[in-house]
């Protein structure tokens, strides 16, 4: 089986599994929306105050909702032993882990992007910052999925590794958080956001190209 064919098949299978249990797949985005609903109760509903914290809250919400779906990324395959098949497959493991990352992005980031209009409204994001926020989320989420997959692969043999993944992965999310929030903030102040967008794209490319390799090594290390 060719590498491309195997990767596409794996992606198709993961998407199908996600679609079959679509209520589970929607939990992270529901969590994100709930977070956006809770914040005004904590800080007050003044539109200006919400606008000030919107960039940070949008990014932090994205980080946290990404984390929620990470623990299932490889553990589910390990539980039904299909992970062993991936390890034994006659194609480079990194190609398969890349598929897993893409599948994770499609099932966890895309719902958040679809809910973005709602989230932006809840945070009272001005029209000027609307597209910048969408762009920031669009470009930051591949980095989050790619780095998160490393955490998921490292903890695949740990029972209930969800909290541990958060501890491993959140410090590595700092650059994406900084540049994402800064892009939205600059757009709110009518400043150019190209610098932040370039950095987010660079981070995405770097993490998407290195992370599948690291995930492959991590899975092999954890194989019994």
């Amino acid at each position: 089986m060719s590498v491309l064919r195997a990767s596409v098949e794996l992606l198709r299978r993961d998407l199908q599994l996600a679609f079959r249990s679509r209520m589970d797949a929607l939990q992270p985005v529901l969590f994100f929306v709930l977070l956006a609903v809770l914040v005004p109760f904590g800080v007050g509903p003044e539109p200006l105050r919400l606008q000030t914290i919107a960039p940070g809250m949008l990014m932090v919400g994205t980080l946290l909702s990404t984390l929620l779906s990470l623990d299932a990324l490889f553990v589910r395959d390990a539980d039904d032993l299909s992970l062993d098949h991936l390890l034994l497959a006659p194609v480079p493991l990194a190609a398969l882990t890349f598929s897993k990352i893409v599948a994770h992005w499609l099932t966890s980031a895309v719902p958040c992007l679809l809910a973005y209009p709602l989230l932006a409204t809840l945070f009272n994001l001005s029209d000027g910052a609307w597209s910048a926020g969408f762009l920031a989320l669009l470009l930051a989420t591949p980095t989050l999925s790619a780095i998160g997959a490393i955490g998921a692969a490292l903890t695949v043999s740990v029972a209930r590794g969800g909290t541990l993944i958060a501890l491993l992965v959140l410090p590595l999310y700092v650059p994406a958080l900084i540049f994402g929030a800064s892009a939205i903030e600059s757009a709110q102040a009518n400043l150019a956001i190209s610098a932040q967008i370039y950095f987010l794209s660079a981070l995405a490319l770097l993490s998407l190209s290195l992370s599948p390799l690291v995930c492959a090594v991590a899975l092999r290390l954890n194989a019994r």
Partner: protein, 250 residues
Amino acid sequence: MNRIVLYYHKLSSPEYFYRFASAVLPWVLLPCVACFAIGLYAGLVLSPPDYQQGDTVRIMYIHVPAAWMSLFIYVVMAFAGLLAVVWHTKIAEWTAMACAPIGAMFTAVTLITGSLWGRPTWGTYWAWDARLTAELVLLFLYLGVIALYHAINDSRQAARAASLLALVGLVNIPIIHFSVKWWNTLHQGASVRLTGASSIHESMLWPLLIMALATNLYFVVSLLNRLRVKILEAESGKAWVQALESNHHE
């Protein structure tokens, strides 16, 4: 065989390494204690107070070497981690894992002394200064390595996984440092600076260098000791350890 390669192979035998570490230890421990005694006396008593910061500047003699060590030990840990991930050498695995708590300790010392220095100088225990913030992220990277090591049941598997995490962290540290610096210049609050002058007077430099040497030696002492304990623990069933023990009792 090349002599260096031969030496590497010899050192990767736990028994040989144990004897090597035990033999070397006193020769590192004595200079370590001496350097700490001289460095602390010179820094805390002999060196002049700063013309602006007064006696507060003496915190620097602990803060700065600890900050250097926090980064240096991470690099050592990641290098040992590389050997562990690629060649599955036991000693490399144990070295990487022994580095993590020492490095975390130095990072914590850096943060604590930094905040103690910040109180009289900046008027607050914590400012979101770029270097302090990056150091805080470094502490969490260390804690992540330690947590992962303790979470996996098989200790060798755990050491390799945590070593890989240390390598990932090493790639990320420059990116994190850079982005935190960038973030800090955007959010310039009350203009807070670490020491204004970049040049340092000779009377303050030499105690600082002695302290830097002392912390380095302390790292070696701590590392060798941790490795000796780990080797005895892991090899407790082996004949040479039991021979060692019976010698000890006689």
